[in-house]
Symmetry: C2
Subunit: 214 residues, 2 copies
Amino acid sequence: MAQGDAAQPLSPAQERVYQRLLEHQRRTGQLPDLSDMARSMGVHYVTLKQHLDALQTKGYLTFESRGRGRSPRLELPAEATGIPLIGDIPAGAPGIASAHVEAYLPNLAASGALRSDFALRVHGYSMADLIQPDDIVLLAAVRLASSGQICAVRVGEDDVTLKYVDALPNGHYRLRPHNPEYEALTVHGSELTIDGVYRGLLRGSAAESLLLPN
Amino acid sequence: MAQGDAAQPLSPAQERVYQRLLEHQRRTGQLPDLSDMARSMGVHYVTLKQHLDALQTKGYLTFESRGRGRSPRLELPAEATGIPLIGDIPAGAPGIASAHVEAYLPNLAASGALRSDFALRVHGYSMADLIQPDDIVLLAAVRLASSGQICAVRVGEDDVTLKYVDALPNGHYRLRPHNPEYEALTVHGSELTIDGVYRGLLRGSAAESLLLPN
DNA sequence: CGAACGACTACAAAAACTATAGCATGGCTT
DNA sequence: AAGCCATGCTATAGTTTTTGTAGTCGTTCG
């Protein structure tokens, strides 16, 4: 269903309105007043409302009218504003695009150094006790900043695992678990896919209470 | 400054308005329209607004008017709605009441089983690697539900530490660290203060991005 | 031509803001 | 004790703004 979003094409004006909403939510964390927005876009209130209605019927947002005089409650779906929580990345998948999205986490600080692009529910014990099964790990979708960081990696056609990644001199990488019962692995860069770099985690009630149902 | 809240006394009517706001935010997560609220309380809009103005000057909320016709933005301070993040509980303190509040976390699921009443920034290594220094641990302020849970405890006049707490038959308790380099400790219940039971944790960017400055 | 799109005008309803005034209560002066 | 004033709570009246509804007009595209 996550790929069903793009099914409905947007007209140019609708696209402008939608982008404006996204930008406003990123900047201020809130959605603008219809009147203000109409003024700043140089159109009349009614025109803007027509576009919002169109966007709602196409599924890009929800527009809940609350009667005359009351500011309407409009909301962008979690796909647009939150970060996806991925249960499983299928083995051999090209990236997170085709992943299984379980739910969404609300906008966790889009600010520069701390940004996280997606989240992963942990399955194995390779990083125990530091990272437990069922923890939710926040990841930034960058390749690799510095050696020794924890990354979500895949080797060839295998499933995703979390490991320390050490860069070795000759184009090889060492994948080092935290759990001493697991073995380190050395692979060449051509076999290795780094899906994201570890940024933080949620555990227990912190995880449960932040999930937005998809 | 956290104890400065109670300095300004509220008149009965102001108290009613304030309690109403708290209740509405707990139930719906949002604050009501002034008009609706006034009607449901049986007073006029202006009366309610005057109370809100009074509450603002006394520091109980912020009321940001945005011009005629626009719904005003009103917000309860973090003390009222969020859970406090405590940097240190002074040794020998009677509880979390006299603790040092660093910041506040936004309302994390006030729903029954998962509720957390306060948060603690971890200092030592007694629960490593499961819980690291600088992690933020969410705690429920209950005594002890079942043996073997992780709790924030104090022994006598010592500082707060996180340990597994096992109930022993003769009124004693065993405080068991996760880190094998630390030693377990057996104390009598009269020496032991349980400040809270572990519910979850935040680490890294998850922690940083959720903090509300006090 | 008809349908979709983008824009406008005009009017109605509800909310938010401003100003003013009527009471009650408590404290102060005389 | 009586009178006066300040303060707080409530209400009424009227203005401005926003939102909602209905209907119109021109352009573009199949």
